[in-house]
């Protein structure tokens, strides 16, 4: 092995560490933001005692989770009981590596680096595959707790997730047809046209709405959160989990929210493209990279705010209404979207000779 390979590997480790730290911090503050924004919607104050305006609350929560007593139910299957939160968190974190946080920038003293951890051609399929594996965390958690309410909650959660995964995948096919590639970096670069304004949401509004609904159902959030709502099944599949394992499930749910928002930003809202930034700063400079990364984070935070807003506003679906909606309405509409996109694309290509 020569030195350039070793340097590459070290750089990748540094990139992964930075990305994970940033993501975990953002997710921790999303929990705090959710509590405060929900409080604002509901007309009260959220946690604001720890630190200025509650800014140290996530660390207080972390301390509480670490020091809490870890209760393991007696008749549970030990191996699967410990494996389930690990699978859920791993699947949530593994999707992080393919998103482009910014364009190729030249950082002083290091050179030109692309601002994403890994790049391969089937990035979008990889994301879909890893979210498919994340279903096991819920199903195994529900089963291994040896509690019939947990089992029902786990099975309902998994059934909901696999039903809406189909609509999610189908809504992305319109985007793939427009972009002609599964590579997320190329999709973002394709959206740099029209002074950074050629976002796919303008070309695929129906696909975006389907994706949003399917994504909210995938992450088990309101209005689709029956399997884990407190008034329904105690706490669903994570009833019997305490302390650090519950913290892992909690973290996995919020990281899922975050990754789904990042996917929506990358595919539909143009990723790191800030309109007119290329004309002002010039491609490849450090300031352009910085502005692009900030633009990306702003778009993701907008999606997270949308999630929290929906949680404070909408009531939840009943489970059979949820399944009916997913199979009988959303799936045909997604297929209709593919059909329409394909027809319009063929007409446009035959008229103008290119994509």
């Amino acid at each position: 092995m020569d030195w350039s390979t070793v340097l590459d590997i070290i750089l990748k480790f540094v990139a992964i560490t930075i990305a994970f730290t940033v993501v975990l911090l953002i997710v921790a503050y999303t929990v705090l933001a959710e509590r405060r924004v929900l409080a604002l919607i509901q007309g009260r104050l959220g946690p604001n005692r720890v630190g200025y305006g509650g800014a140290l609350q996530p660390f207080a929560d972390l301390l509480k989770f670490i020091l809490k007593e870890d209760i393991v139910p007696d008749k549970s299957t030990r191996f699967i009981y410990f494996l389930a939160p690990v699978i859920a968190t791993m699947a949530a974190l593994m999707t992080m590596i393919v998103y482009p946080f910014g364009p190729e920038t030249s950082i002083p003293f290091i050179g030109t680096i692309p601002l994403s951890i890994a790049r391969f051609d089937v990035a979008l399929l990889y994301v879909l595959g890893v979210t498919s594996v994340g279903v096991y965390g819920l199903a195994l958690a529900g089963w291994s707790s040896n509690n019939k309410y947990s089992l029902m909650g786990g099975l309902r959660s998994s059934a909901q997730m696999i039903s809406y995964e189909l609509a999610l995948g189908l809504s992305l096919i319109g985007v793939i047809m427009l972009a002609g590639t599964l590579d997320l970096q190329k999709i973002v670069e394709m959206q740099s046209a029209w002074h950074g304004f050629r976002w796919i949401i303008f070309l695929q509004p129906l696909g975006f709405i389907i994706y949003l609904i399917a994504a909210i159902a995938e992450t088990n959030r309101v209005p689709f959160d029956l399997p884990e709502a407190e008034t329904e099944l105690v706490a669903g599949f994570h009833t019997e989990y305490s302390a650090m394992k519950f913290a892992l499930f909690f973290l996995a749910e919020y990281i899922n929210m975050f990754t789904v928002s990042m996917l929506a930003t990358t595919l539909f809202l143009g990723g790191w493209n800030v309109p007119f930034a290329e004309d002002i700063f010039g491609r490849g400079t450090f300031l352009f990279g910085l502005v692009s990364v900030l633009g990306f984070l702003l778009k993701v935070i907008f999606f997270l705010f949308l999630y929290i807003w929906l949680r404070g506003t909408l009531p939840r679906f009943r489970f059979d209404q949820l399944m009916n909606f997913g199979w009988k309405f959303l799936l045909p509409v997604a297929l209709l979207n593919i059909f329409l996109t394909a027809t319009l694309l063929i007409l446009y290509m035959s008229y103008s000779g290119s994509r």
Partner: protein, 222 residues
């Protein structure tokens, strides 16, 4: 470096496969099989077939095994008990014959390997999504269309096997999972003290069985 990765993933695959066969609890077998699928997907990536690797994880590990795990959980399958083996003299005979087979296979592999007739792996375009897609829709269009008909047959078959019969025979015992709803809920002329029940899997089914108009709206309670 590639050799190390190959040994890692191959060892993982073989280990999980042996665990699949040796475990008696079917849920542990299912988890070992998921391990086999994921290590095979990593091997496909090493063989420069990223599309097949992603499809393997999505279809096998993410859909088929979820179905198997659901069935295991719903049917509450318990562990196999060990039974006394009645094979007797067959076991040493099997071991000897298996050793002969393995020796033959190893000889063939070693012989072909040494003769330098085997190809080497070059970097090429096969394995990218675009080449699979173009082959699938031009040269192999007929298998593709026949496969879609096969999937339709599978859907119809699975739905037929899982369907429940709607008529309730007279004097039937209550089937686990069915709801027994009071007759008053559907026919308001029947007094509330009438304890007859109708058994079905939902209010729409009951309305069909009893031949009543289904304007039953659960959101209006009276």
């Amino acid at each position: 470096m590639l050799v190390l990765l190959f040994i890692l993933f191959a060892g993982l695959a073989i280990g999980c496969a042996i665990a699949l066969v040796a475990q008696r609890n079917p849920l542990y077998s299912a988890i070992s099989l998921i391990g086999v699928f994921i290590s095979l997907a990593c091997l496909y990536v090493m063989l420069a077939a990223p599309f097949i690797a992603a499809v393997q994880v999505i279809v096998y590990a993410g859909a088929i095994m979820v179905l198997v795990v659901f069935v295991i959980m719903l049917l509450n399958v318990e562990q196999e008990e060990r039974r006394r083996s009645r094979l007797g003299f067959l076991v040493p005979a099997a071991v000897v014959l298996a050793a002969v087979l393995v020796a033959e296979a190893a000889f063939i592999i070693w012989f072909v390997d040494k003769s330098h007739a085997t190809p080497t792996q070059n970097i090429s375009d096969t394995g990218l999504t675009s080449s699979i897609g173009s082959a699938l829709f031009t040269k192999y269009l007929l298998p593709f269309e026949i496969t879609s008909i096969l999937l339709l047959m599978a859907i119809v078959g699975a739905m037929t096997l899982a369907r429940r019969i709607k008529e309730i025979p007279a004097g039937a015992a209550v089937v686990p999972g069915a709801q027994v709803l009071p007759l008053h809920m559907f026919d308001r002329s029947v007094p509330l003290s009438d304890t007859r029940g109708v058994e079905a899997y939902g209010t729409e089914e009951v309305a069909e069985v009893l031949d009543l108009p289904d304007d039953h709206d659960l959101t209006k309670r009276d």
